[in-house]
Symmetry: C2
Amino acid sequence: MDADRRIRLALVREKIFRHFSEGIVPFWAERGIDTEFGGYLTNFDADGRWISEDTDKYIVTQTRMIWGFSLFHQRFPQDKRYLDYATQGVDFFIDHFWDQQWGGWFWKVRRDGSLIDPGKVVYGQSFAIYALSQYYLATGDRRGLEYADRTFDLLQRYCADTARGGYYENLEPDWSLSAPGFHAGDRKSLDIHMHLLECFTTLYQASGLDVHRRRLEEVIHILLKHMVDPVIGCGLNQFDLEFRRIPPIAIRRTWNAEREGELAAGAVDTTSYGHNLELVWLLLHACDVMQIPGSTYLENIRKLVEHAMQYGIDWMNGGIYRDGPHTAPAVVRDKEWWQHTEALVGLLDAYILLSDERYLDAFENIWTFADRFFINPELGEWRTLLSEDGTPIVSGLGNPWKACYHSGRGMDECLKRLDVILEGR
Amino acid sequence: MDADRRIRLALVREKIFRHFSEGIVPFWAERGIDTEFGGYLTNFDADGRWISEDTDKYIVTQTRMIWGFSLFHQRFPQDKRYLDYATQGVDFFIDHFWDQQWGGWFWKVRRDGSLIDPGKVVYGQSFAIYALSQYYLATGDRRGLEYADRTFDLLQRYCADTARGGYYENLEPDWSLSAPGFHAGDRKSLDIHMHLLECFTTLYQASGLDVHRRRLEEVIHILLKHMVDPVIGCGLNQFDLEFRRIPPIAIRRTWNAEREGELAAGAVDTTSYGHNLELVWLLLHACDVMQIPGSTYLENIRKLVEHAMQYGIDWMNGGIYRDGPHTAPAVVRDKEWWQHTEALVGLLDAYILLSDERYLDAFENIWTFADRFFINPELGEWRTLLSEDGTPIVSGLGNPWKACYHSGRGMDECLKRLDVILEGR
């Protein structure tokens, strides 16, 4: 790395630190707490104004806010508010989302905590494990680890597929399998198995238990054996229960289906560049927590990154596309916030592992685009969706799927890696 | 079926009923209860005398006795002793075998209940589920179903292989995987997965819960996809964790290893005729409990039976051999009690499903041999091991692996099927 690059990266580091500590953290601390009912408010328009017509609480964003304030407390322990903000979120979550009859967590409640949708979705359960484990690590409150482990047990009891491996993903309130098709009781996905990798990593970090590590190793086995293309190396998308790849559809209770409704099936070779780079750093983080070398999955990581380098990065406008086929240019060329934050972390990790400066080129490319177009300069949170050239499509700063998770985590994880790169820390 | 066969089978039915009710049941009721410490005494010599030098209590035979007295109570409810005998066995089992620290059941205790071996073996856990579910069905004592379901949960948490499907089989006291080789943490087997099929069937029968049925369906999937030869149709033996067939070895904490110690690996194509015929009727019983047609697995069942017909039955001396290769005559030609009781049931079930009278020929062949050589005529329990021609090798009537399970269950299951065949009941 030459001196110019070092100087540029040091400036990016400072900018990201200010953006995180003076933008994202206060954005959510000042407006994310529901002081009337407890839990979190998550929906904010382009000017950071609360959207009072849309106040339902989703498991995904309530847990992402618990996760976020737990992180903020770890990073800024001198500010005592974040601990309180995390704890009140856990209180609300246990009081109103925990299913006293069947165990596990509901999908959606009203602002006051009254029940709307008691469905059991592994995506949501995985975020509960992730947030509660992080909360335990940050606070030492035993409720976090206890409920995380109870959720882990329920996944083993009701969701593990002991015939073929992996997990069933979409279940009814009583944990019976959902219907096929739009309800997707007959599908498995890279997305949800990647979030199981994510949450089992943090659960193992919190518990140190052998069985949590074993399930983490097993879900990595599933991801790398069945859910990435063995030759091309990019991530696949959806599968039948036997892990045969099938054309992806919009599935009930997902971000895409809630935006776009039930869609015709897509191409079977659809891959998400953001997921691929998120998988890179989640794999390396899991290695770190398991104290095994990051080089364990070197070839998988190299292929995942190289695919994004070839097809995902928009070298002209900057940023990263959403989706595309395995061996041709990107098709869905909008720019979405979360792919960018995850790509930034994945590229830094790939550089640390493989010492290839092209990954730093891509990192700088994406950061420059994000800094210019995604980050609201007054409010410091990320816009949701832009066109290919950066024109805003959805400028809202908070929605039922967003919260402070991708933005806050992405910035925090970048800071850790930039410190390693710049100072060998 | 001609009139001669009908008369012969009716006589066999009467003989089996007397053998069961006047032989096996009183044999164990009169000497199987440990009135000093609780639980069961299981070791008796060729004359039915208690072997006082060998009084350790194994999970396998303690649970088999709970299972047996639960059955006896169902069959002979007017005799109130059997309910007490089952209940005191459950009391002892919960008090002395339940691991308060890690959950699950110990492998072995002394006669007074003090701990010898806290190892966690799925074979043992499966018999706990089987016995406690049967005990609940027989008595309505909620403890039975509660502990069975807790054990089921522990299998899901600690033993399910969520990478490849199926279950890890040999675990340490804290439920970590045992070492490879003789400790067999790296092996899966037809034997243990068949006993999971057996126990999940009775658990589902007891609970009616969707999740127990799902796990039952999944273990059937594993057995028929990975554990029987797809062309020849006979059962395989041992596998690595990926279900690749490997040469079988004697494994710690198994009947063979305790008899014979650590042996050189056998031939990879070893199959057990007794297991194959046991699998036949356990599959059909599972269909019955799930209320799906027995013809669901028709081709598997036909192949399992035909293999035993071709290679397993000793048409000259009578009886059934122990083991042999897939496509050649039997190699291990001793006659062991349990293969005979299981074969009798499997052959009757195969006849009911497929209406092939050759299966009744084999049934009569095995019964005649058993009645003449295995069953102790004064005491009514089965000897353990005979040579090919019926000469006793081990005449003992009870050992740490035997109890009243194969003999009592086999006779009871034969009676049910003979009633169907003879009277259409």
